[in-house]
Every structure is written in structure tokens, then in C-alpha cells.
Symmetry: C2
Subunit: 683 residues, 2 copies
């Protein structure tokens, strides 16, 4: 970059707008690097990786005040022709390392040539995250060994990385040392290395090495390890794309459905924690292999994994007895993030040198999954007061805005995931996920996962023939109970009325209570799907716990209302905001301010995988989040008891009361919901 002289030319890069004058003959890649323009290159300008493709413009650029002649860049050369013949290249594209500046020029860097391309763009927010993963590829030419100046192959590789990439000091584990020598010789001393350098201060670590220019896969795995289900997203570490996603049931369910029963299992059975650790690690390895297979990549191409989970799963996965998490003061063995070799935590299906990162835990009841939700939803940047609810077997709640953020967890139990529900099942094809009840006939209609048709639409039977109608999932039971309440089938205390009170024979006696029949598939050898009194009690307990957690945070924050609610979690993505509010799961709030963030914990894990600054960010942020402990807070019990009715008094729900009118059941002599509020399961 020099002052304007006849020997220099003006180079303008778009979209960045960065510009400078360069001597004639300067390669475009060199100009980009000197200006700090984000132009990728794996081979370091040797014309073999094609990552530095650019689109030069020709003609008038009034906005930039230049006219670009057809000879502004050096002629198309044989390196470019060879690459185009071999791999193909869009017309008009040039290789930045080959094309030299010969006159004033405007050069566009297309998104796929940007090293820090944008990724994980959140639809619901303006936030954008750029690719800046810990693991990157570098092509290097290594000096051959010289017996008169004996140095190891690793030391000469280190020298090459210093000279060619300005990377100071590397380390390599034994899996790399084992293959280093044959790979260097096979590549005739030109190799590609995968280097890992995260937000911590350690030296760059060689994870793998390939002869010549490696053009294969480079992936990371983001894992959301829930108590009930495990979800994994396989991401391309170069562009952040999700190549495949998959999920399995957590095999620890056989040791206990909820977290506390697993803690009990560990306490009652010597070696029980080890059994559970082995089970979940086995499942994660199988899941990694399965998503890799689905994406058509070798599991060895998985260089990193980021795990988020609640504290009990965190300890059980790491092989730490979770017994302390089962009793006050709920002390974690460690609350910090962990960066380890994946093999140390038994993840052996990945690359042998793969790394493992888990986000920090917020508290003994608020885990790395809540930290991941905080990373994804960034409540600390919100102008308005946002309540984020991650619904799972253990619900985790965040409440805050720019001033401060509070967190707590609430033991909702597995009812929202379809467990402990008589016809419950997890969200899978055949499960009822949406339900409406006709106000006049009290007849239900519903939709099942796997079809867009309602059960009273023509063709529904044919459309659901392959899946059947197998049960009711979490979002289905929420809608069913809310609709039953709306239509006078269940009262404010949660009691299902008989046929004479409700006006429908679908309300059948069962023991001393009633059930509401949704679907009778027995004629087709299918199940009889009902909502029982027990189902309603289970959901009441779960939603009361959730609501009580939210109220506790609001008390602590000193607010009676929230500006918006974000529902997170796989369940949160499918829930109907209206029905959730009718049921009293969440505080009153304008319905259009209730949004779904999908699997925010999984998104947070992906962010941590794709951008190392986000790891440093969440580690710092977690220290700022104020934790509220529900288990010992008397007000939590109070809120819990008060929240078991369906729904709460309408005066506490001004937004809800605009939407629906809750009928008063014939047998409800109190004429208001007040009585029901005090009838819930007490302490």
C-alpha cells in the first residue's frame, strides 16, 4: 500500500469496502491480507486450494469512483485453467492468489470465499454469528530432514507453520505423532494439518494431518444431552452448515425417569453411577456414528464436540457421582467449562485426537444447557424484560434484560415430554400433537405427527395408515387439557366432569373419577387414547412448578409482568402459546410476545462449536447471572401451591382474558377459580 503513483493501482474490495493502493503485480490475495479483508485460503496462496476465489468487476463503479478496465487484473493463467478443468469454477471468478493487480479494480469476495462467513443466523433476532471455529485447516510445505542438522519431523512442521502461517509453537498428541512420518513422506513434504486453537491460552494442537491438500470433511458435533432425549447436530466446521441431525432416547431412562431418581439409583447401587456413565457414553458414540453415516462422512472427520446438558447429566457423563446434586446445597464438582480430549470422556467414535468442550454450569440445578440457552438467546442484550423457559424434565428459566439476568430451575418432571401420561409418548410419528374440542358437540378433532390433516379431514385415515395413531405427546396433552378446560369438561381445580355435567358421553367413569375419550382405535387393534384424571394431575404439578419458577424469578427481579416469553426446547418449539397460557404454564403476556426459540440449548452448543469467542463470552456471562435456588425458597412452595389450578383468576391474566372466556362448570358452586387455587397439592 503506497501513496498514489503511476506504479500503483487502487484496489477496492466488496462487500467490506476496504480499499488501498498496491504496486502493479501484487496478487489479489496479498492485497486482501494487507487490508485485513476476510478472504479464505488453506494453501497459503499456492493455487491449489481454490478457497480464495474472487469476482472482479469490469466497467464503471460510480459509487466507488473508479472505472475498471478489462486488463485491471493479470491474464487468466494456467494454474486457474487447471483448477477450472479439474474442479470447475464459476465463469467470471478468479483465484485471488493468481490474479495480479494491473490497474484500478473492484473485487467482490463472495460469501463462500469469506473465512469468517456468517452462520447460525437467528430468525427471531438480528444477531448474526460469524464462523470462527477452534479447528482450521492449514496447508504447509515442510523442510525435508537433514541428517547434519537433525531435528524431528514435528519440529520442522512447527517451523513451517511459523514461517508460512505465523503460528507460533504447536503440540501434537500420540495419534498424530504416529502418522506424522508416513503422511509427510506420502505428501512429498506438503501436508494439510487440522489445528485446534480455542479461546484459552494453550498452544495450537495438531488434531490430524493429511498428505498434500486435504479436501475432505472437517466437522464438529453439537450435542444437547437431555434427561430424556439426546439430540446431536453434525456441523461443517468450515461453513457452519448442519450436515445431519439425529436424536435418541437417553438410555439412562432405565435407571430412573427423572434426574432425582437417577441420583437415587447412584446412591442406592454401588457402581450405579459408573453404569449410567457407560450407558450414556455408548449412546453418544452410536449417535455420532449414526449422524456421520447420515451425512456420508467418516466419524474420524469429527474433530470437536460441544456438549450441553443439565448438571446431573453433566456429572453422570463425566463419570462424577452426582450424589451431591441430590441434596442441599447442591454443590457441583466443578462449575467451570471443560476442554478435554474427547477420548478422555469415552467419545472414541470420533477422530482419535478430537476435542471435547462443555459449557460452564450456572449452578447445581441450572446447567450447561441453560448456559447454552443464554448464549443463544442473549437475554443480557435485551431491551425488554424477557422470560426464557427451556422446558424439559427439569425446566430451566432465565429472566432478564440489559440490566441483569436471573436464572433458576424447576423440577417439572417428565410429564411435558409425554412420560407419566396414560396415553403419553414422546414426539414421534403417530403421536397426537394438536387437538381441538368443538364447543357444541364436545367432540375432539386432532392432528398426528407425520400428517398435516385433521382427524375430521377427508383422507386422514389413509394419510395416517403407516404411522397409526399411537398416543399423545407433550404438546398434545397441553392442548387437550386446555381445550377440555375451555369447553367445560374439566374445572378450575382440574377435575374431569361426568357425562351429566359435561354433556358428552366421551366423559366416561373410571374408578372414582372420569376420563375423556379422544380416540378409540381398538377396532383397528390400536390403542384407546384418553385423558385421565391422573394425566391432569401430572400436568398440573408440572405446570405449577414451571409457573412457580417464573414467579420466583419475577419476585427476585421485582416485577409483576414480563415483556415477552421465549419458549425453548424441542417441546417449546411445538407448544401452542395460547393453550400454554390457558393452562397457566407461563405468566400472562401478550400472546404475540410469546415466541418459540426451538432447541435453543442445541443452538447454543452450535454457536460454541462455530465461534470460539462465544465460548469466552458465555464463560464470562455465566459469572454475571444471578442464580435463584428454588428448592429451599419458601416462596417457591407458595407459588407452586397457588399455581396448581387451571387457570388462575382471570384478573391475574389480563391478556388471556381478552382471548377466551372460561366457562363455569355446573358443579363448581364457588363460581370463581379462587377455591381451586387453594385446592392444589400442598406441602
Amino acid at each position: 500500500m503506497t501513496a498514489e503513483t503511476p506504479d500503483t493501482a487502487l484496489v477496492i474490495f466488496t462487500p467490506s469496502g476496504k480499499r488501498g493502493r498496491f504496486a502493479m503485480g501484487t496478487p489479489v490475495l496479498t492485497a486482501a491480507r494487507q487490508l485485513g479483508v476476510d478472504l479464505d485460503s488453506v494453501c497459503g496462496g499456492r493455487g491449489i486450494c481454490s478457497k480464495c476465489q474472487v469476482s472482479p468487476g469490469i466497467g464503471e463503479f460510480p459509487k466507488h469512483g473508479v472505472t475498471v478496465s478489462a486488463t485491471a487484473l493479470s491474464e487468466w493463467n494456467s494454474v486457474e485453467q487447471r483448477y477450472k478443468d479439474k474442479r470447475g469454477m464459476l465463469d467470471g471468478r478468479r483465484l485471488g492468489c493468481q490474479a495480479k493487480v494491473m490497474g484500478d479494480v473492484v473485487i467482490d469476495v463472495p460469501p463462500e470465499s469469506q473465512l469468517h462467513r456468517q452462520v447460525v443466523r437467528k430468525a427471531a433476532s438480528a444477531r448474526v454469528v460469524e464462523m470462527d471455529p477452534a479447528t482450521r485447516l492449514y496447508y504447509v510445505e515442510v523442510a525435508e530432514p537433514d541428517m547434519h542438522e537433525p531435528s524431528g519431523d514435528l519440529e520442522r512442521l512447527s517451523d513451517a507453520l511459523r514461517e508460512q502461517w505465523q503460528i507460533e509453537g504447536i503440540v501434537a498428541g500420540l495419534s498424530v505423532l504416529r502418522k506424522l512420518q508416513p503422511v509427510l513422506r506420502k505428501g512429498k513434504w506438503a501436508v494439510t494439518v487440522a489445528l485446534f486453537k480455542d479461546h484459552q491460552n494453550g498452544p495450537a494442537r495438531v488434531l490430524d494431518i493429511w498428505p498434500g491438500l486435504y479436501e475432505g470433511d472437517l466437522c464438529g458435533l453439537a450435542i444437547d444431552l437431555g434427561s430424556t432425549t439426546i439430540a446431536a447436530h453434525l456441523c461443517d466446521l468450515r461453513d457452519g452448515r448442519v450436515l445431519a441431525s439425529g436424536g435418541v432416547m437417553n438410555p439412562q431412562i432405565r435407571f430412573g425417569e427423572d434426574l432425582m431418581s437417577r441420583v437415587s439409583y447412584a446412591m442406592m447401587n454401588p457402581g450405579g453411577d459408573v453404569e449410567m456413565t457407560e450407558a450414556v457414553r455408548l449412546a453418544l458414540n452410536a449417535l455420532a456414528q449414526s449422524v456421520a453415516g447420515e451425512a456420508g462422512i467418516e466419524p474420524g472427520a469429527i474433530m470437536e464436540t460441544v456438549l450441553v446438558c443439565n448438571p446431573v447429566m453433566h456429572h453422570l457423563f463425566l463419570g462424577i457421582d452426582p450424589v451431591e446434586l441430590g441434596q442441599a446445597p447442591f454443590a457441583l464438582a466443578t462449575s467451570s467449562s471443560l476442554s478435554l480430549a474427547a477420548s478422555e470422556v469415552g467419545l472414541t467414535a470420533l477422530n482419535p485426537a478430537a476435542r471435547f468442550y462443555t459449557l460452564p454450569c450456572i449452578a447445581g440445578h441450572v446447567g450447561a444447557d441453560a448456559a447454552a440457552v443464554a448464549l443463544s438467546e442473549a437475554p443480557q442484550t435485551s431491551e425488554d424484560l424477557v422470560l426464557i423457559v427451556d422446558v424439559g424434565t427439569n425446566a430451566e428459566l432465565l429472566l432478564g434484560n440489559k440490566t441483569r439476568v436471573l436464572a433458576c430451575s424447576s423440577p417439572t418432571g417428565p410429564a411435558f415430554e409425554g412420560a407419566q401420561i396414560s396415553s403419553g409418548q414422546r414426539a414421534a410419528p403417530g403421536a397426537i400433537e394438536h387437538l381441538e374440542i368443538d364447543p357444541i358437540t364436545k367432540e375432539p378433532r386432532f392432528r398426528v405427527i407425520g400428517s398435516d390433516l385433521w382427524s375430521d379431514d377427508p383422507g386422514f385415515a389413509a394419510a395416517t395408515e403407516s404411522t397409526g395413531i399411537t398416543g399423545i405427546c407433550g404438546s398434545g396433552i397441553i392442548e387437550a387439557i386446555a381445550e377440555m378446560r375451555l369447553n367445560g369438561i374439566v374445572d378450575g381445580a382440574g377435575l374431569i366432569g361426568g357425562p351429566d355435567q359435561t354433556g358428552t358421553t366421551r366423559c366416561e367413569p373410571e374408578g372414582r373419577t372420569h376420563v375423556y375419550l379422544i380416540h378409540d382405535g381398538t377396532a383397528q387393534n390400536g390403542p384407546r387414547i384418553t385423558v385421565t384424571q391422573g394425566d391432569i394431575r401430572a400436568i398440573q404439578l408440572a405446570k405449577a412448578a414451571l409457573y412457580a419458577g417464573a414467579r420466583l424469578l419475577m419476585d427476585e427481579f421485582g416485577t409483576e409482568t414480563v415483556d415477552r416469553v421465549v419458549l425453548a426446547g424441542a417441546f417449546g418449539a411445538h407448544i401452542s402459546a395460547k393453550h400454554a397460557m390457558i393452562l397457566g404454564m407461563i405468566p400472562d403476556c401478550p400472546l404475540d410476545k410469546v415466541t418459540s426459540a426451538g432447541n435453543a440449548a442445541g443452538t447454543g452448543a452450535r454457536l460454541a462449536l462455530c465461534n470460539i469467542a462465544s465460548r469466552a463470552g458465555i464463560e464470562a456471562q455465566v459469572k454475571q447471572i444471578h442464580k435463584v435456588e428454588t428448592a429451599i425458597e419458601p416462596r417457591f412452595q407458595e407459588h407452586f401451591v397457588n399455581a396448581s389450578a387451571i387457570p388462575h383468576a382471570t384478573d391475574a391474566f389480563p391478556n388471556l382474558s381478552k382471548l377466551v372466556t372460561i366457562p363455569v362448570l355446573a358443579h363448581n358452586t364457588q363460581g370463581s377459580e379462587g377455591g381451586g387455587r387453594r385446592r392444589g397439592r400442598g406441602r
Copy 2:
């Protein structure tokens, strides 16, 4: 420390002589710390570890210019009395953390209270090394968890180490995280941690944790992994004492006796390198258990291991195929030191968090064992020119002084270790280790390992009844051949004469050559021990290689003579300097300047184990050592051929010729050794 006022007293510590004024009431330990006096403490001044014992003096100290009154320290207190009752304490001793300064005082710090006490004192040199191991114990009191300020147990341990020991930031592996919570609770929040912090920049690593004050063992293992034998020294990491030593044969011998045959085995047999890696790791684990058993400690008390070995063993132990070391340019996979978890290299018999360190290699033929010899013998500090010869299956040689140091290796083969010798065996009870031949009768007399008697002493038969006379070890065969040469039984070319030439019927025909009978044990069902022509050829090859290596270094250094010779290695410790010189193994040198350094490689490993600065030192020093490659150096071949005679012309050995007169054999018509010098095995 303040200016002289009536409220302060003068405190003088011996032997350091450090002095300062302190406020009345200052604990002696505090004064010591402020003055930088080397006074140990594990408990940090809580009066429970007793490491800070001191000996205050009373009376006149004219040398220091003070008079110490009987009340110069606070009175003996109940903490001291309790400790003395429970564990015993020498009279006159005080606990530095309890005794407070009340007047001018002279305080002696006995050696056992010095943290950096001296250790590994080399008898042969003035060098002294002080204890400064990577792993130390720290007693800390950790804050209890508080559910309103949730932080992990590890984070509170980290806080405690920062506050109580000024240790900033720690990491802990999963083996520690697994036991952290129960140990903290068992110790009622007081624990002892073993912290590892070496010469590198990483954070301190918790290796283990115990409830309360840990008073058990804390050990390290120094391993010298030779091609033929493996030696291990178990050291106390607190005072450097060797608690036990042991050795086993290298089980890789079954894959090839010397290094190159093992490299061939790896080349010819797919998976052969893996087989050899597993064999040697198995042997090291067994050896660790055996020395721990001998010392009566748990193998889990071994926190660190330092390994030295030649480059081929280095690669085979680490699991790296050594094939590149078998061919020019003899490139190492890595020449740097390695610091790893011991479990990564399969050393699972130690503490699960134990660390592994191997010294850097000097070149593809000059390994970490040679680096360890350099660390132990420090040629770079020598005023006179020293040749250090580490005799093994592969001999490694260092030549140098303060100006510079050269290194090479020489493929001597296993003959010096008793292999490839017809009656050879390794140095073990029953092996002939010393031998003399009567100049008149030509009858031999000898000593075997396990007895101090000569074979013609009365009582020899009884003394050796338990061991028998089983064979001849390396030092024995050297002496036997040198004595045969001195007594005209073998000529300068290495040929054994017949009975008519030598005048003894002990020279018996065997095929087309002769053997010399040392001992016939067949009547007692023992072996018949002879020196054969083949034995002499094997020793000639070995000693020629050794000598040629030394000559090559001398050429490179530009010298015709060396000032002194150090023989290292287990073999070097037992060799007779005179006989070695008669044989022509080492360059001519005054006999009193030929010393033995014992197992210098093992000593170097112990130094690296006990003092982390020595690790940094040898890593820097290795980069300064100039390597000479023997394998491709024409002069090496030349020296080798010229060195195969026994001995060389006396004019090249002025010191030797003063000692002995080499007889001229009847059949040696040339009358000088010149002929023999050209008769050795050529290229």
C-alpha cells in the same frame, strides 16, 4: 521487616545467613518467608504438618554480633506439645509456625526442614542439585458450598489455593474430579492436594487429593529404558531419596536383539511395532509395581515418571513406528521433550493422574538417554576436554568442554552386554566379572558376581555354591580378552594361538580355530566357560565401533587427545579402565583420568524428576549440542577398520605403553601391530 526500633527484633537464619528485623510476635515461619529463607511447610502454618521445624540458638553469637536470650522466642505452646507427644520431635526444636519472635534470635534451619534440600549429589563432581520437583503437596482449607453463591467444589479449591498459597488457577483431570467431592467432605473441607507444575507455562494441575493432612508417600519413577535392560529408580519426591531400584530384561529382545533388528521386525511384520510397544509398556508397568512393592508403597503414590532411552526405544515406547530411524536421514518423529499424562503412554500402574516426561532426543541416533547423560555429567561446564562414553547395545558418545559439546552414537551391538558371546550372560550373580591370567602358567583366576573371593582363594567354592559359575558378563569378557592379549594367548589381529604357540593346553582346538578354557564346570553339571574366536571377533567389532565413534568426535573437535574419559552405563560402572584401554575401546588417556559415572542416564532421569529447572536446562542444552552422524561419515568407516586390532600401535597410546608391555606372539611375523590394523573386517 522494619527499621530498628524497640518494637522489632533482629532475626538471623542459618545456614543461609539471611537476616532482617521483624515486629515482636512475628511467627518464625512468616519471617522466613518474608526473607526468602528456604523453610518447608505443607500446612501453611497451621501447626499440623511439622515440616517447619527449626533449631533456635541461645547465648553469644559473635560471628553474627548478637546475644540471644532464652526468651527470644515465645514460649513452647500446646500445639508444639501435642505434636511432640504424638509424633516425637528432637529436643531444642520448635515449630516455625508456632514460635514467635520476642527478641534478637539466631535460628538454624536443619536440612530436613529445607524445601529445596540438596539431593543427587554426584560423588565424582562438585555439582549439587537441589530438590525442586514438579509435584508438591499443599494443605488447604476450602470454603463450604453456599447454595446462594453457587460455585463448584473445584472452583472453591482453586480460590483456597490462590488465597492460602498464591497459586493462580488450577486444572484437574477426571480422576480428581471423581473423588473431589467425597474427599472434601471426608476432610471436613480441609484437604491436601498434590499439585503438578513443571517448567512449562501451563496451569498447576491437581494430580490427587486426600482428606486432611496427607502424610503418605509421594513418589516419582526414573526409568532408563535400554535396548537390553530396563532400570527403574523409585524416588521420594520430597527429599529425593531412592526408595527402591529394580531392573528387568527388555521383553522386546524376542523381536530382535539389537535396535536395527527391531526396526526390521517392525518393517517386515504388519503390526510388529504395536506388538513391541505393548510388550515394553507391559514390562514397565510390572517394573513399577515391583519397585513400589519393594519399597512398600502403593503404586498409586507414584505421581510422575521420567523416561530416558535411545531414539528407537523412544519411538517404540510411544507407539511410533521406528522405520524412519532405520534408514538415512534417520528422522525422528519428534525430537522435543514430551510431557503427557502417563495413562496416554499406557503407564496405568501408577496414580491415574500421573505425569510422564521424556527428555529431548539429540538426533536420530542419539537419544534422550544421551541427553540424560549430558544432564548428569554436564560436559558443557567442564574446563578440560572430556569424552563421555555410555556403553550399551548402541553406544552414545559426548565430547566437549566449556567451548562446545559434540555427540554421536555408535552401533556397538550387544556384545558388551554379554550377548553374542558363547558363554556370555548379563551381569547377574554367578557371572564372571573379573579375570586375571598368570603370565607364567597362563592359568586364569576370576571373581564372580556375588562373591569377593578370587577363584584360587580358599573358600571360593563354598562362597559360590549358591550362585554357581554360570557364564561371563560384559566386563568379564573385556578383562578376559585383554588378559589373553597381555599374556600372548591372542595376537594383535585377534587370533587365538594354539597350545604350541601359547604354551598352555587351555588353548584347545575348536574347528579351524582355538578357544581358551576359563572354567570347566561339567563335573558339577555346570557349564564349560571358554573364550572362542567368535567371541573375540564380536568384541573386536564392538570396541572398534566404540573407538571409531570417539575418534570421529575428536576429528570434528580438532583434537588428537582427550583430557579425561568418563565411562557411563551399568556396564561402564564395572569395566576395568586398564583392560578397556588395552583392548583399545577408548582413546589413550592417563589411566587415573578414566572414571566411571555409573548409570549416568539413570542419574539424569532422576535429576529431571527431582528438579524442574534441569528439564528446562537440558531442553536448551540439547539444542546447543552438535551432532555428528556416524552412519554416513566415511571417516567413521576408516577409523572403524583401523581400530579392529588389539591394541593399536603403542605410539598412539603413550599412556598405555607406560603401563603394560604387549608381547609379540611367536606366529606374528610382522613384529608390529601395523599389520593387524589393516586386517579387521572391511567395509
